[in-house]
């Protein structure tokens, strides 16, 4: 059974058990995440440390709000590398994040169906 990338208990607490708000957050995430993910990928590919920091920071905020702790930690690592201008480690770190992001996106879809249902 795949690991749960959203801490549901934490998310419920953060939204004060408001299912409508949770649905809103998931919808925003679903709409915004692919663009942000892509923007981060482009920044990583171009080894642009400033863009990596900005994009990683934004993604970190989104993921933290969703109680996606592991994904937030992975992207925070990219932000840290960007700040230190360690461009040679961008790709390796981004790959780790991508694995988590892929599974997270799938879980968000499933969770959305559950919350909406």
């Amino acid at each position: 059974m795949p690991k749960n990338f959203i801490d549901l208990e934490e998310l419920l607490e953060r939204t004060e058990n408001d299912r409508e708000l949770m649905r809103d957050l998931l919808t925003i995430f679903k709409e915004e995440f692919p663009q942000r993910h892509q923007a981060l990928g482009e920044a990583v590919a171009s080894l642009n440390a400033t863009s990596v920091v900005l994009e990683a920071h934004t993604l970190k905020g989104m993921l933290s709000n969703l109680a996606a702790v592991e994904a937030a930690t992975a992207v925070a690592e990219l932000e840290r590398l960007g700040r230190k201008n360690e461009t040679s480690r961008f790709l390796e770190s981004f790959s780790r994040f991508e694995v988590i992001a892929k599974e997270l996106s799938r879980q968000v879809e499933a969770f959305m169906a559950e919350v909406s249902g």
Partner: protein, 322 residues
């Protein structure tokens, strides 16, 4: 209470917005620092703010600095939201003028508790302002009638005369004294006397324009300035005020008390460059004339040649006797 939320990240903004609405706040949400600063710097803008640290246009500390530049408006309590946890970051945030900071992702209960702290501080500021305004009122107004007190009405008269001279306009100075006020006190008691003074003040205020000044000059004496009026208007208005005062008895706790007032009137344009003290002396002399003429009338102070002895033989004015 209104609160401003500034966060460029849509999910954070939505989460904060909903959490605050649920807590009873009236929320204004914006997506960048410039908009936040503009909103907070409005005269009636929100007094509580949650500001994301990193934002486009202007960051959270930048918003704090902009807001703190204003000196003449109510205090705004600002909390920075940040994922920065390093001591130097926190210090920099607080140095920019933020009151508090909260690490993201925030806990709703902690956020609400911190905002309650902010609200307590704003409430305290409101109470201090209220007390200051109360003290200011007490320092400038007569306690019984709530009219301008002697010091302020003289100051206002001085300013008005300066303005009138500069603009070549006329100011009418009206000094009124309640007739037989001592008898009122002796016959009806001091409480009724106070009620008469309060009602006299009310009648005076109700019979002048919003930009005229009315003050209690002393005991039963009142000073009225009719600002920016032509002489004919000044004369007519003085007579109208006299009639308004005497129109009906004052209903007091000791029964109805008939009242009347004698007035000295001076039209500043006719007197050239004279000091406030000199003009008050002249209008007081005219008031004395009204008393001597049988009371309940208006006497106009007429400029006389210096050789005329009238000014020398004028009685000691009441405002000097006090």
């Amino acid at each position: 209470m209104r609160i401003l939320i500034a966060d460029d990240e849509l999910m954070s903004r939505r989460l904060l917005e909903k959490t605050m609405q649920r807590a009873g706040y009236d929320v204004t949400a914006v997506a960048n620092g410039q908009l936040a600063a503009a909103e907070l710097c409005k005269p009636e803008g929100p007094r509580l703010a949650l500001l994301d640290w990193i934002m486009p246009e202007l960051d959270g500390p930048g918003v704090c600095r902009e807001v703190r530049k204003r000196k003449d408006q109510s205090y705004v309590y600002m909390i920075l939201l940040t994922s920065k946890e390093k001591k130097e970051d926190v210090v920099a945030g607080l140095e920019s003028g933020a009151d508090d900071y909260l690490t993201k992702p925030f806990d709703p209960e902690e956020l609400k508790a911190r905002l309650r702290t902010g609200k307590r501080i704003l409430d305290l500021e409101d109470r201090l302002i209220e007390a200051r305004e109360e003290m200011r009122f007490q320092a400038t107004h007569d306690a019984l009638t709530s009219l301008w007190n002697r010091g302020v009405i003289m100051d206002l008269l001085g300013r008005e005369l300066t303005r009138a001279r500069r603009e070549n306009k006329c100011t009418a100075i009206l000094l009124g004294d309640l007739d037989h006020f001592k008898n009122i006190n002796d016959t009806y008691g001091h409480l009724a006397g106070d009620e008469v003074l309060k009602e006299t003040a009310r009648r005076l205020v109700s019979s002048v324009r919003s930009y005229d000044f009315v003050g209690r000059f002393g005991g039963e004496e009142f000073l009225v300035t009719l600002n920016n009026c032509d002489p004919a208007f000044g004369l007519a208005r003085a007579e109208k005020i006299r009639k308004t005062i005497a129109e009906s008895p004052v209903e007091t706790s000791a029964g109805p008390v008939p009242i009347s007032m004698s007035f000295g009137l001076l039209l500043s344009q006719e007197w050239g460059y004279m000091s406030v003290v000199e003009l008050l002396h002249e209008v007081d002399t005219a008031l004395y004339g009204a008393k001597a003429a049988g009371r309940n009338c208006v006497k106009l102070a007429a400029p006389k040649a210096q050789s005329d002895g009238a000014r020398e033989f004028a009685p000691e004015p009441a405002w000097r006797r006090q």
